[in-house]
Every structure is written in C-alpha cells, then in structure tokens.
C-alpha cells in the first residue's frame, strides 16, 4: 500500500451515507467537519460554552417522579433510586422540554411539507425570490445540504427525526445522568429545532406563496374591534396554515371573500395574514380564551400548538361551531374526514355537533358554510359598562382570584373598581392578563371576570406588518460590516409567547432600541404585541419605523417557525459578509457569531417548550437570550461568573491564547424581573470581543445611557471590564468614565482582530478555519 493511501483516513459507512445524502460532490462549498452531526459531534463545543456559561439550576420541585422507583427526594445531595441527582434531573427536564419544542416544529414542518407534496409533488423548487440566494442557512450549516426542492426539505426532516429518537432515548431512566451531557443534548435538540423551523417556513413560503424577497409587506388590521360584527366570522387558532389557507381559497372561489370575516389568534393569524392581508389578526395567545368566550367566532377552527385544550368546551358554551383539524389535537372528537360535507354541515348547524376533520379542503369548506348558516342565529356583542358594573357587584373580594393568577394580579381590586364605575384599573389589568382563565374558574361567587374585562377590550384596534420571511441577502451585505464592527450596535430579536409580566413592556422595549438605531426583529406573539400600543398620534411601531433590516428598522419576520430566519440572518452575516463557508461548519460559524455578531434574543413572555428549544438553539449558535420573570420556572439558565469566569480566547491571527478578562457576552440565558433592567442588559449583551474601538464606543454609549436612565445616574460598576482603550469611551461620558477608570486602577487591554474559541478546546476544526 502506498504511503499516501495509508495516511488517508478511510471513509466510514456513516460518512459515505452522509456525503450521498448531502450531495457532497456538489461544488457550492467545501464540506466542513460536522455535516449532519450526531449527538457527540458538537459536544466539545457545548462543553466549551458551558465552561464560560455553566448552567444554573432553579429546581421547580424537590423530587423526581419519572419512574416507579419514585417519588424520589433529591434534596440535600440525595440521589434518586436510579442514581440521578438534582442537577441531572433538571438537565433532563430541560432536554425533555427541548425535545418537545423540536417535535412541535418538526411535526408542523412534516404536516405542511407532506400536504404540499400531495399538491405539487416533491420536486417543487425552492425559490425565495431574487434577493434570497442563501435560502436555508440553518440547513446548509447543520446538514451541509443546499436544499433545492421539497424533497430536500424531507431529507432535512428525516435527519432531525432520526436524531430525535436518540435524544429522547437518553431521557429514559438509567441512561444519561450528567447534567452537562443533558444540556449538550438539549443544545443539540435545539439546534435541530432551527432546522425544522426553517424547513417548515421555506415550505410555507413556496407552497402558499407567502411574501419573500420583500421588506415592505402589508399592514394588517389587528385587535377585536376591527372585526365586522355583522358578518359571519371564522376564528382560526394555532400555528399551521394548511387549513386556514383553504378557508381563504374557498371564500375566493365562491365569491364570498367580502362576506365572511376570518380572524386569527396566535401564529395561525401570522400565517394566514401572509396568505391574505385582509385577514384580521385578533391577537396573541394571551387573548385566545378571552375572545373565544366573547362568542365572536361563529366557527372556531384549531390546528396545532398553543391551542387551549379546553377550546372545545368553551366554543360549545357560546354556541360557536368547532372543528379540530390536526392529528396532534383531536379533542376526542368524532373523525368526520370521510363524511360527506353536506352531512357534516347539517349536523353542526342543526345539532351543534363538533368534529375532527383532517382533510383541510373539507374543513375549510365546512367552516365557511357553517359560519354562513350559524351567524344569523347567533349574534354576540360585548357587554356595556353598566352591565359590567352590575356583574362586578357579585365580587366579595375574597382574593381567591389573585391567589391562582399566574401573574399574581390584583384582580379583585380591579373588579371592585368596576363595581364602582371606574373602568381604568380593569384596562390596566387587561394589559397584564395572561388569559389563563383560572380566576374565573376559582371564583366561588361566579363573578365572570372575562366578561367584565370586555369593557377594557372592545376598542382594541391596531396595525401589524405581516411577516416577511427571510432577511434578504442584499440587506445582509449592507449591514454585515457595521454589525460586525459594532457601528450598528446590535440586532435585537423580540420573540416568543405572551406570558408577559405586562404586555406593554414589549412595545416600550422594542421602540427604545429602534430609536437607538439597533435593528429590531420580531416573531410570533411578540410581533403582535408590539403593535398593540399606539403613540399620541395613534400610530403603532410598525407605522413609525422602516420595515427593512437596517439601523432603526422594525421587522416582523413572521410566526414561530420564522425564528429560523433570525438565526439564519446571523449565520448569513458570517457567510455572506465574512465569506466563511457554512457547509457542515457549525463550530466555526457559531464561534464567529459569539465573538462578532451583536445579536440578542428577548423572550419576555416565554411560556412553552418551543420557546425553550428556540432560545437554546440560539445559545448554541452564540446568541444570548434575555427572558422575563416567568422563565425562572424553566429551571435552567446559562450564567457566567463575570470577571471570575474563563474569558480566554485565541487570537486567530497570531495564534496566541489571550485572557481577555472581558465577559462578553456576559450571559447566554438570563432572567430578569423588570423591563428597565432588561433594557440595560440587552445593550450590554450586544458587546462582542471583535468590536472595533469605534463600535465599542457606540455600544458603551447605549449601555451607559440606559444605565443612567434607569439606575439613577452614575456609571455601570462593570464598565471597566468592557473598556479596552480610552478611545472606546463615548465622548459624552469620557470625562466621568476616565475619572472612574483611574480611581479603580484600570489598565488598557489589547484589541484583538480575530478573537476565537477555536483552539481553546479539543476540536477537529483546524485553527486557521476561522481566518477569512
């Protein structure tokens, strides 16, 4: 055997299979070290991250109750019957949540793609328009595959599904026990979640012809007051547009589009308004139960994810027709998929029956016909102030409503004020209400809190810009340099659910950063919520700021699955601006983002398992996430020890290890209680080791100015950690800051030109792979 053959490592069967799957011989980019990674392949990267950002656990319970050994007490260092300790159990629960989130988006993607393949065949081309050439940055990065058709999206999902089995397997009793390995697996699952979300939204865009390659998407009406109460109304709830789009199709085909209102709650509202901009966006998840209980929907249609499990009963109580359309949430209903549509309509209208219909076209047709027939029989309207006042008089202020409120609101105080004719406290309460309905359920005097709350809700009318899908390559070219150099101070992504301490926080935070010329991107409930506040001129944030990915832009990217376009934008900065190859090159790209791209996620109202996987997927990619107070119940954060942590990087050009002592970004997953502290922290978390002195000065300017605004003046006590040279001190604060730095004995530090973690931990990635 020749020497050269001896040295060349043999390709394993696994590697051969991967290369076939991703068409490795396609020359678009060289294949990196980790195409289609298995669980262990990025484990060293995870461990390196967790060396700087160790998981901190806040157990939600003291015990484990997963198997019949238990319940096992895990307090005071005790282990369960299987040997697990309290930290391991927390990591296990985090992984479970991440797998649930991944499965929800993966299931969504599967359903959409299978549906579209039925219609268009698997060779439907992926074309996201002339301004999006890097169509699938997450899939390209993780798999090493450049997807060209729906069939390639199936390939991506098959890989995800295969990994998911191993991930869930590790949750079984007597498998994984290390909390760090559970976390590594959670990071893996969450990375895969962004692949699944990306596959779902690409399919939706090409299959339903959603907007793409355009910034200025339409402004749509939002809120309850925008619905025409004289028309039959269909409410679609959930996330998946397969059925909701068929409703629109049926209306169009039968010349009924102007005769029937279609309103959406939660992300189906996003998706359907991307299909038809006359669709009304009623509101986020927190408004779901409230509006269903008003009875405004003549027909309620559920698809999947974040749909309340009691909607069936709630719809029945107010006489709304109800159709479930997803195998994920059948509600125990009779499956009428094979039944004749005429018969279903008659049963629903005449006998109030509710059905599961898995054929989307049939469900769409039935929904419209039932709404047309039911509407004349049932007209609902919001109650008047005087009616509310009468109802409120039943309250005896026992406080049971407050006790069960997950947001700990003073409900009885607001109700008692309504009883006196003062509606203002109830309006404030409505902005903080999570919409769970526990207050009303608990009330022993039958006070209909939600009905009383209608006095606060009936005038809701706002504007939201419809979701626009991927950030365009052309936009990335324009802003790549200023983001990496720091002269655009950051990209702030407000994402996630509506479990807010106060929903008005979000618009305030988003506008603060838009005014400061950060780029603000939004998805999901957050994208709706920021539109639910008007200024003195009656304008929402979407009407005041440009919709393009530029300094000061406010961009609604779309629904939950559109979150993949936010990570995609960060990846594209590395690829398009820095020309780093993406293909199977996860560590290099994540390292680039961690050290260079000042992006921060904000999930102020995260409640779900999907939010866990979305956020944790950002973390693996080097994007820190700020969470609201409810998220302390997720049990795990990734927090550094500030200056006491390990902030060693390698200077990629000189090849030297440098202990920077600079905690940037300081944390990867962080909870705070108030919007004021969140804003200060968001500005700080945009700081990256690669900032130029000019860029760092701009970022410090915002950090200091927000600190002064909310902390009563002074300078941040950790300012010295982020100042490398005196040129980085913002001019306006220079004198004050120099005095402070002198007082504490600050010394200048080198400004690195290529800070990288590659080379600081065991990795197959060659050190020069970071040089571009």
């Amino acid at each position: 055997m020749a020497d050269s053959e001896e040295k060349k490592p043999k390709k394993t069967r696994k590697r051969q299979r991967i290369e076939e799957t991703i068409r490795a011989s396609d020359p678009w980019e060289p294949v990196g070290q980790t195409p289609m990674p298995d669980i262990p392949d990025l484990r060293n990267w995870d461990m390196r991250l967790m060396k700087a950002y160790p998981p901190m656990y806040a157990p939600f319970c003291d015990v484990c109750c997963f198997c019949t050994y238990g319940k096992c007490d895990l307090t005071a260092g005790k282990r369960g019957g299987c040997g697990i300790d309290i930290a391991g159990q927390q990591g296990r629960i985090v992984l479970l949540a991440a797998c649930m989130g991944l499965s929800a988006h993966g299931g969504h993607a599967r359903h959409v793609i299978d549906h579209l393949i039925e219609h268009y065949g698997e060779d439907l081309k992926i074309d996201l328009g002339s301004n999006v050439a890097v169509e699938a940055p997450n899939i390209r990065l993780v798999l090493g595959l450049k997807p060209e058709t729906l069939k390639d999206l199936v390939t991506a999902l098959e890989y995800v599904e295969s990994e998911l089995i191993h991930l869930i397997s590790s949750l079984h009793t007597g498998q994984e026990g290390s909390n760090l390995d559970f976390e590594s697996k959670a990071l893996h699952a969450s990375m895969l979640d962004h692949v699944a979300m990306e596959a779902a939204d690409i399919a939706q865009i090409i299959g339903f012809k959603f907007p793409t390659s355009v910034a200025e998407t339409p402004l749509v009406d939002m809120g309850c007051a925008v619905l025409d109460g004289d028309k039959p109304t269909i409410i679609v709830v959930g996330h998946n547009p397969v059925t909701s789009t068929t409703i629109i199709d049926y209306l169009r085909q039968n010349d009924l589009r102007d005769k029937v209102e279609v309103g959406g709650l939660c992300c189906t509202a996003h998706e359907t308004s991307r299909y038809d901009d006359h669709v009304r966006v009623i509101g986020p998840l927190s408004r779901q139960l409230f509006y269903i209980r008003t009875g405004i929907g003549d027909v309620v249609i559920t698809d999947e994810q974040c749909i309340r499990t009691d909607l069936l009963d709630e719809a029945r109580k107010v006489g709304s027709g109800f159709i479930a359309t997803s195998d994920k949430a059948c509600y125990g209903l009779e499956d009428a998929t094979e039944k004749d549509a005429d018969e279903i309509v008659r049963e629903m209208v005449d006998n109030g029956k509710q059905y599961l219909i898995l054929d989307p076209h049939k469900a769409g047709q039935v929904a419209v016909r039932v709404a047309l027939e039911l509407a004349p029989q049932r007209r609902s309207q919001m109650i008047s102030d005087s009616e509310a006042q009468e109802l409120a008089k039943k309250c005896v202020q026992c406080d049971m409503c407050e006790r069960v409120c997950p947001n700990m609101l003073d409900i009885s105080v607001a109700v008692s004020q309504v009883a006196k004719g003062n509606m203002d406290p109830m309006k404030e309460l409505f902005d903080k209400c999570l919409g769970c309905g526990k207050c009303q359920e608990e009330c022993t005097h039958g006070v209909p809190v939600f009905q009383i709350m209608q006095t606060a809700a009936r005038t809701e009318a706002y504007k939201m810009r419809t979701g626009r899908g991927p950030i365009m390559d052309t936009e990335i070219r324009n802003v790549g340099a200023p983001i990496v150099l720091g002269t655009i101070p950051g990209v702030i992504a407000f994402v996630g659910c509506s479990n807010y301490p106060d929903m008005t926080d979000l618009a305030e935070m988003a506008e603060e950063f838009a005014k400061r010329k950060y780029i603000v991107v939004l998805t999901g409930c957050a994208a709706m919520t920021v539109g639910m506040r008007k200024d003195a001129d009656g304008k929402t944030i979407y009407e005041k700021y440009p919709p393009s990915f530029e300094a000061g832009g406010v961009i609604n990217v779309g629904s939950c699955v559109s979150n993949a376009h936010i990570t995609g934008a960060a990846i594209k900065i590395a690829n398009i601006f820095a020309t780093l190859p993406l293909r199977g090159n996860y560590e290099v790209i994540a390292d680039y983002i961690l050290n260079r791209v000042g992006a921060v996620g904000v999930a102020w109202g995260a409640y779900s398992q999907k939010a866990v996987s979305i956020a944790t997927g950002c973390n693996r990619l080097g994007i820190p996430v700020v969470l609201g107070p409810h998220s302390s119940k997720y049990r795990r954060l990734f927090l550094s020890q500030k200056e006491e942590g390990d902030w060693t990087v390698r200077d990629g050009r000189k090849g030297e290890m440098v202990d920077t002592g600079e905690p940037s970004p300081e944390h990867l997953a962080y909870v705070t209680e108030t919007k004021e502290k969140a804003m200060i922290t968001i500005a700080k978390l945009c700081i990256r080791k690669n900032d130029t002195p000019q860029g760092r000065a701009l970022k410090l300017n915002h950090y200091i100015s927000l600190y002064k605004k909310f902390m009563g003046g002074g300078l941040p006590p950790d300012l010295h950690l982020y100042v490398r040279t005196d040129k980085e001190l913002p001019i306006v604060y220079k004198k004050e800051a120099m005095a402070y730095l002198k007082e504490i004995g600050w010394k200048p530090k080198p400004v690195l030109t290529l800070p990288t973690l590659i080379g600081t931990y065991p990795s197959k990635v060659p050190p020069d792979a970071v040089i571009h």
Partner: protein, 181 residues
C-alpha cells in the same frame, strides 16, 4: 405545611421553609449571622406599607442590622435619589449564582454570606431564586421579609392576611435588631 398565597409557588417536594412570625426570633437569627446580606427586589419600589415605601423599610432594616445590601433589577434607580448606594448591584439570578459558590468572597469581598434575606420580589421569581440556594448552597441560610410565604426559603414569614400585621412585624423586627444583646 403552609400553602403559599400564590398557588404557582405550591411546593412539590419535601423541604419547606420554617414559618416564623416572631420578630424577636427573626432578629435573633439575623444577629447570629456573621455576614448577612439583604437582597432588594423591585417590588420594594412599587408598594408601600403604613405610608412608607417598602424600600424605606428595607433600608431601615439593613441599617438596624448593619447588613450588606444587594440591589437587583433597577432598584438602584430609586435608592440613588434617596441618597443611598447599595453595597452591590447584581440581578436576582446573578446574586444567587454567586452565592451558591462557597468560595465567593461576598459583596464586600470579606467572604461569602451566611444568611441571605430576600425582600421585595415577585413571589414566583423569588421562590425560584431561593430554590437555587436551597438545593445548591448548603453553606448558607435564607429568609424572606415579604408579605407571603416562600416555601423554598429556610425561614419565611406566613401569609399575612392584613397589612397591619405585616407592618407590626417589621416594626418589631427593627426595634429588636436595634436592641443591644
């Protein structure tokens, strides 16, 4: 076992706080501590008791016990106009992250704290922060001064039905702390 006022904090477990409603007992525990730390939450900025902002109560207690303070969230924004600077600024999750490390040198760099008192937090975030210390900081004890019961503390007040009772407790606590042993 006492049920927390807010049901989201119902304990699923075995290790619940000891309920103390005796101000002298509370004061004795604080006095026994070598390096107590009072952690100030943002509810102190929003709520008043007996016509006095809770933050003023907190600073009075800190002064009476000569306790170090840590301002979380944006509490410092209110302290500064009052002419007070806290001994440290960490958010709730940051301070517990440091406290769980027995080698940490504390907010005054004099050694880690042996007693940590939470005052002025949303009960869910407060209880979760206390959970970190309950499970991972056996080297210190925790207590609360809020109106409601926190099961994850070592020592907690009961759920005070009436503000006057809570106010009475805090007043007696301050006077007990001021008493010379």
């Amino acid at each position: 076992m006492v049920t927390p006022f807010h049901r989201v904090n119902v304990l699923t477990g075995v290790k619940s706080a000891i309920v103390l409603d005796s101000a002298p007992d509370y004061a004795a525990l604080i006095k026994q501590a070598r390096r107590p730390l009072l952690v100030l939450g943002p509810k102190l900025l929003e709520e008043s008791l007996g016509g006095k902002l809770l933050l003023e109560w907190a600073m009075e207690i800190a002064g009476a016990a000569n306790m170090a303070t840590c301002a979380t969230a944006h509490v410092k924004g209110k302290l500064v106009p009052m002419g007070v600077n806290p001994d440290s600024e960490y958010d709730a999750v940051e301070i517990v992250n440091h406290l769980k490390n027995p080698e940490w040198q504390g907010v005054k760099r004099e050694g880690n704290h042996d007693l940590v008192i939470f005052f002025g937090f949303r009960t869910d975030l407060g209880n979760q922060s206390l959970s970190v210390l309950k499970h991972f900081a056996p080297h210190l004890r925790t207590m609360t001064l809020c109106k409601y019961f926190f099961p994850n503390a070592d020592y907690s007040l009961p759920n005070f039905r009436k503000d006057e009772d809570w106010e009475g407790f805090l007043e007696e606590l301050i006077s007990s702390l001021k008493e010379k042993d």
